[in-house]
């Protein structure tokens, strides 16, 4: 697994993939999808697919790829080695969603929530396998949101493929478990080797699990809070843990699409125009009741001043 393309720019989303085994282009294949790192406030979320010919399902089962969550980091690394050894018939692909991608998507003007982001990423990976010539007939997915709806959505998108969406699919289907291992290994490595784009000097890497309730993670978040910038891009700004800490210890920042702020601004504008209507001087700005500033200036947001 070569992470260098992600590590060269860890602020964006990145796809990594194994070679496509030749046999996957000729035989009917099954494909599993799972994710790693959905919950943590730190680091990327990784989506993984793993695929192999349907005829090789038993072999995969015998390699004892179980749900990655029940394994230690070392065990996962060993199993990933095994998958790599089976590369003549097992292929994988990963989509690494950087924490910055997650923050900027979830906080976008037109909000892009994590479920939509997850679905689109999974769909993109299945499409990647199809585009690479993998003869998909079965797809197994660990659930994100309500299983039936998601299954229906995927079936519609990929007609002719048997789609199975299940909660805990990673412990039910070895191919999902294999995908889970790939995703988890990638996330572990990325978090461990995170290189901070920010110029922060030596950064304490004792972040704990990255889950918001982990005391180590909390302590790290307190230590690395900058009053103006908030956090390095390693942190998911869209997580309420991060937001709450910034709200209480950081400087307040307002955007034009903060709903409450927009109302306020409208109110202020109203007030101003009422005043100018009555010809009263509205505080610092000299107003001429009938004169409308030339549009050259209004279009360029240029106004006269009467005081510095």
């Amino acid at each position: 697994m070569d992470l260098s393309s992600f590590e060269s720019n860890n602020s964006v989303s990145c796809r990594l993939a194994s070679q496509i085994p030749d046999v996957c282009r000729t035989e009917d294949c099954c494909l599993g999808i799972d994710e790693a790192g959905r919950g943590p406030v730190l680091g990327p979320m990784v989506y993984g697919i793993c695929f192999c010919p349907v005829s090789k399902k038993e072999e995969l089962k015998n390699s004892k790829v179980a749900d990655s969550k029940t394994l230690t980091e070392d065990e996962r690394e060993n199993l990933f080695e095994k998958l790599d050894e089976a590369k003549s018939y097992v292929g994988w692909a990963l989509q690494i969603l950087s924490p910055n991608t997650i923050s900027t998507s979830m906080l976008q003007r037109t909000k892009y929530n994590l479920n939509a982001l997850s679905h689109d990423t999974a769909i993109g990976l299945v499409q990647y396998a199809l585009d690479s010539g993998v003869q998909l007939t079965e797809v197994f997915v660990d659930t994100v949101g309500p299983a039936e709806k998601y299954e229906e959505k995927l079936s519609k998108l990929f007609p002719g493929i048997q789609v199975t969406v299940r909660p805990k699919a990673d412990s039910l289907f070895p191919i999902v478990s294999a995908a889970s291992i790939c995703a988890k290994v990638a996330r572990d490595r990325v978090v461990k080797g995170w290189s901070f784009a920010e110029d922060l000097g030596e950064v304490d890497t004792d972040y704990g699990s990255g889950y918001p309730n982990d005391p180590k993670t909390k302590a790290w978040l307190l230590k690395y809070l900058d009053p103006v910038f908030g956090y390095p891009q390693f942190v998911r700004f869209s997580w309420s843990t991060a937001q709450t800490l910034m709200d209480s210890k950081g400087v307040t920042v307002h955007w034009d699409d903060d709903d409450e702020d927009r109302e306020k601004a409208a109110q202020r504008l109203n007030k101003k125009s009422m005043l100018s209507y009555f010809g009263a001087s509205s505080g610092s700005k000299a107003q001429n009741p009938t004169h409308e500033t030339h549009r050259f200036f209004t279009e360029r947001r240029l106004k006269n001043l009467n005081t510095l």
Partner: protein
């Protein structure tokens, strides 16, 4: 997600981001520092901020580019106030003009330093120190020289010709910069179409006239429109009730005084807009439906009717 904090009012800022002509900071020719001053805005008749360059040789206008929800990072600091101030050269004649027009009502030639006086805006006399100020008075006034002393009297005709030249210069600059001058309704997204070939001369003239009108009284603006042979457009604001209009009085200010003394050397002009406390109080109250007080004590007199 945590609820958003309310916006607090900004305390007075103590830092400004400015774009200014190189000459403002050219310390080579500085014998004194430039300074921001408040002068009477010829359009609004109220205070606006200007800058006088070193030694008062140059006048500058100050405008602020201001959009809501903006702040600056300046070096290794943050500045909450996101305005960008533009300091640009200003023709002092625009500011001198209202004083000349007003004294022109009296029909006498007067020494200009006795005309450009304003107790409310004492810095206005510094306008006469600006390079070209005195020399360019001939664009707006007739000149007489008696015993090495110069006297001036406002000339509407000259002023119109001068303003017309201003409009023409502005049209040229608008064309050069490809500024869209079409009268079409601007979309709320402010999309500017760069290559609109169908702008006609009238659009340019009107646009330029509108820009120049930011620096002259409304009456002068209307006169200029006629001088440019542009018909007046009827816009909704023209139909507003007269109480809201800037009405300029034909009545000479401080009528009843002995006008003969206006030509005496020791005459000190009364401040044009000195309010009594009663007037000040009245100025603060809701004036809708009333005849504006300004019609009684405005320093601006209506331009001569031709």
């Amino acid at each position: 997600m945590a609820t958003k904090k309310k916006r607090t009012l900004s305390a007075q800022n103590d830092s400004w981001v400015v774009i200014a002509p190189d000459s403002v900071v050219d310390t080579q020719k500085h014998d004194s520092d430039p300074s921001f001053v408040r002068l009477r805005n010829p359009l609004t008749d109220e205070a606006s901020l200007y800058m006088l360059g070193s030694g008062d040789v140059q006048l500058f206008e100050v405008k602020a580019f201001e959009e809501d929800f903006h702040s600056w990072f300046v070096g290794q600091t943050v500045q909450r106030d996101g305005r960008l101030l533009f300091i640009t050269p200003m023709d002092p004649l625009y500011l001198i003009l209202p004083y000349l027009i007003k004294s022109g009502k009296e029909g006498k030639f007067q020494p200009v330093d006795q005309v450009v006086m304003d107790e409310e805006f004492p810095a206005c006399s510094r306008l006469l120190s600006c390079t070209h100020s005195l020399a360019s008075l001939r664009h707006i006034a007739e000149e007489k020289e008696v015993a090495n002393l110069k006297f001036h009297r406002y000339s509407q005709e000259k002023t119109m010709d001068w303003l017309k030249k201003k409009v023409e210069r502005t049209v040229a600059a608008l064309k050069k910069r490809h500024i869209s001058v079409g009268e079409g309704v601007k979309s709320s997204t402010y999309v500017r179409v760069k290559s609109e070939p169908d702008h006609n001369e009238e659009d340019y003239l009107r646009y330029a006239h509108g820009l120049i009108s930011e620096y002259i009284s409304e009456d002068l603006s209307k006169d200029l429109l006629r001088h440019l042979k542009l018909p007046e457009l009827t816009s909704p604001k023209e139909t507003e009730p007269p109480s809201k209009k800037r009405k300029l009085s034909d009545t000479p200010v401080e009528a009843g005084e002995d006008y003969t003394k206006f030509n005496s050397a020791d005459f000190v002009r009364k401040p044009p807009k000195k309010m009594t406390s009663a007037q000040k109080t009245l100025a603060k109250v809701d004036k809708t439906g009333m005849k504006p007080m300004s019609s009684f004590f405005s320093p601006k007199a209506k331009a001569e009717k031709k």
